[in-house]
């Protein structure tokens, strides 16, 4: 191959474009090569588009399978009905208990997990000696790796009995148990994303604050944290997404009864509503489960959009 680079890459028609005379055999192989490169390009393009395809697939399937039940039940009755009795003689499909449980549960997990995760992140990103930082960061990533069923198992055997005896309630499997488990489970996301945001704060801001006579601790909380606020907001939103989407651990500790949410009562989340009835459901009940998944999916899309917004802003800052 002794042809100059430029010719091969340019889009000049290979037959008429060049003026030099080439041996036809070489030319033929060049054309084949171009076709081959085009083919490879096509393959990679296809691979690149697969993620988009998957999102479309999921969206389309959820919409197609989720709409019929909503139509039959009625959107308002479905979303705001307070009773879920899918296997009763005259079944009722109101998912307000699930929606509210998911919202309360997530809010509780955030209220509990965010302060702890946030303060841990500030300490690790700014104040911790390197060794402490290495050890605790490793511990946090272990936390992130533990399977949700293990959280569920420990929750079932430690947390649920604990809540029962501390608060003297008949059954510890409750919203509170779910909140505690979720708070622990979202901790790693909050810590890690916040650390990334805090470490990106330019040293100059902190220097300026120290030079004004602020102490290091004051500087972290009054300059570094506000400067990293978009990133920290992203951490919180990520935590919301994790909490609202968790199914198995919650199923194991929340008692799984379709009550309106209350701290010490057994409850059912959007996720667990789908998971707990899917294996034996049929007909309208099954379709209603798909509708629940669609509602959950819409929540997630909303959260993703918020996450993207904050991540973008944090990158710009």
């Amino acid at each position: 191959m002794c042809l100059p680079m430029k010719k091969r890459q340019s889009k000049i028609d290979p037959v008429t474009g060049g003026s030099d005379i080439r041996p036809p055999v070489l030319w033929d192989s060049l054309m084949k090569k171009q076709a081959f490169e085009n083919f490879i390009y096509g393959v990679f393009l296809l691979l690149g588009l697969i993620t988009v395809g998957c999102v479309l697939l999921i969206t389309v399937y959820l919409i197609i399978s989720g709409i019929p039940a909503i139509r039959e039940i009625g959107l308002f009755k479905f979303l705001f009905g307070k009773t879920w009795a899918s296997t009763a003689k005259t079944p009722q499909f109101g998912i307000l208990p699930f929606i509210l449980t998911s919202i309360y549960g997530t809010a509780g997990a955030i209220a509990l997990g965010v302060p702890i995760g946030f303060l841990t992140a500030v300490y690790l990103a700014k104040a911790a000696p390197p060794k402490v930082k290495a050890v605790v960061s490793a511990a946090v990533s272990v936390l992130a790796g533990i399977p949700s069923v293990v959280y569920g198992l420990v929750g079932m055997l430690v947390l649920v009995p604990g809540i029962r005896s501390i608060f003297h309630v008949p059954d510890g499997a409750s919203l509170l148990a779910a909140i505690v488990v979720l708070a622990v489970m979202i901790l790693p996301s909050i810590v890690n994303v916040s650390i990334t945001a805090l470490e990106a704060v330019p040293q100059e801001y902190e220097d300026a604050s120290l030079a004004l006579g602020a102490t290091p601790t004051e500087t972290y909380f009054r300059v570094s944290v506000p400067a990293a606020r978009s990133g920290i907001a992203a951490a919180v939103v990520l935590g919301v997404g994790r909490a609202i989407g968790e199914a198995m651990a919650v199923m194991m500790v929340s008692g799984n009864v379709a009550n309106m949410p209350s701290l010490f009562q057994s409850v059912r989340f959007l996720t667990t509503a789908v998971a707990s009835e899917m294996s034996y459901s049929s007909g309208l009940q099954r379709q209603a489960l798909f509708s629940i998944a669609l509602v959950l999916y819409l929540f997630i899309l909303l959260i993703n959009a918020a996450l993207n917004f904050f991540l973008k802003r944090s990158k710009e800052a």
Binding site: P202, E204, Y205, D207, A208, S209, L210, A211, L212, G213, A214, T215, E218, R222, V223, P226, A227, A317
Partner: protein, 251 residues
């Protein structure tokens, strides 16, 4: 004129490398003292020693004595935060916080416990006026400070430093990132500020040293080679190395 800062036999090491060697210097109040010398000569390190910003760097060892208003700044009882309140600093690169102009100025006073809107409003206006930027940005106090031009940002940083009512202002090449017009404004400002404050300024620009400073100290390889009246230093330097530097033979 009395000396506000006196330095005796100051040595400083970064790990095993000695960055400052037996520095002895007295800095008079209500004057501008310029620190000049080639890059890496220790002038910035020296400046940062005066408000103990070097404490932040791991592995730094300091011997000798620095007295501010008669008080040894390395004495165990000294609160470094109070020292930095008295000895303010302006950095090479303008570094306003990513907050509003108002919050930038109010940050220092708030940190030191000043509350009340009227009081803060007053401090903000006074500081911005002292930094000669009030007229330019009085309508944009609630806007994010990062939206200002580089020169405005630097004057904002000066105003922010003034807001905690320091006695001394350390300036670490405050104009090196600015255009000539902004540089001129900062120089004018520095000259005006010496009525109320003592200024120590590190500069790469010898014209700048001549234009604004009363004393000049020439640093080389961690040593203070020569120190005296700016006029004397630049007209009849005693040391050969000073002469070589100011005549541009190295640098």
């Amino acid at each position: 004129m009395s000396d506000i800062i006196t330095v005796k036999d100051l040595c400083l090491w970064y790990g095993s490398a000695q960055a400052l060697k037996d520095i002895n210097i007295n800095i008079p109040e209500h004057a501008i003292t310029a620190l000049i010398g080639p890059s890496g000569c220790g002038k910035s390190t020296f400046l940062k020693t005066l408000n103990r910003m070097n404490d932040l760097i791991p592995g730094v060892k300091i011997t000798g004595e620095v007295r501010y208003a008669g008080q040894d700044i390395f004495a165990p009882g000294v609160d470094v935060n109070m020292l930095r309140k008295d000895i303010g600093m302006v950095f090479q690169k303008p570094n306003p916080f990513p907050m509003s102009v108002y919050d930038n100025i109010a940050y220092g006073p708030r940190t030191h416990g000043i509350k009340g809107k009227a009081k803060l409003d007053d401090i903000v206006e006074r500081s911005l006026r002292d930094a000669a930027i009030w007229d330019e940005i009085k309508d944009r106090l609630k806007k994010n400070a990062l939206g200002l031009s580089g020169g405005q940002q630097q004057r904002l940083c000066i105003a922010r430093a003034l807001a905690v009512e320091p006695q001394v202002l350390l300036m670490d090449e405050p104009t090196s990132a600015l255009d000539p017009i902004s540089t001129g404004k900062i120089e004018e400002l520095a000259s005006a500020l010496k009525e109320k404050y003592t200024i120590v300024i590190v500069t790469h620009n010898m014209q700048q040293a001549v234009r604004i400073s009363d004393q000049t100290a020439f640093f080389l390889l961690g040593e203070l080679v020569e120190y005296g009246d700016t006029e004397t230093i630049f007209s009849v330097p005693v040391d050969k190395r000073t002469e070589d530097y100011i005549t541009g033979r190295f640098g």
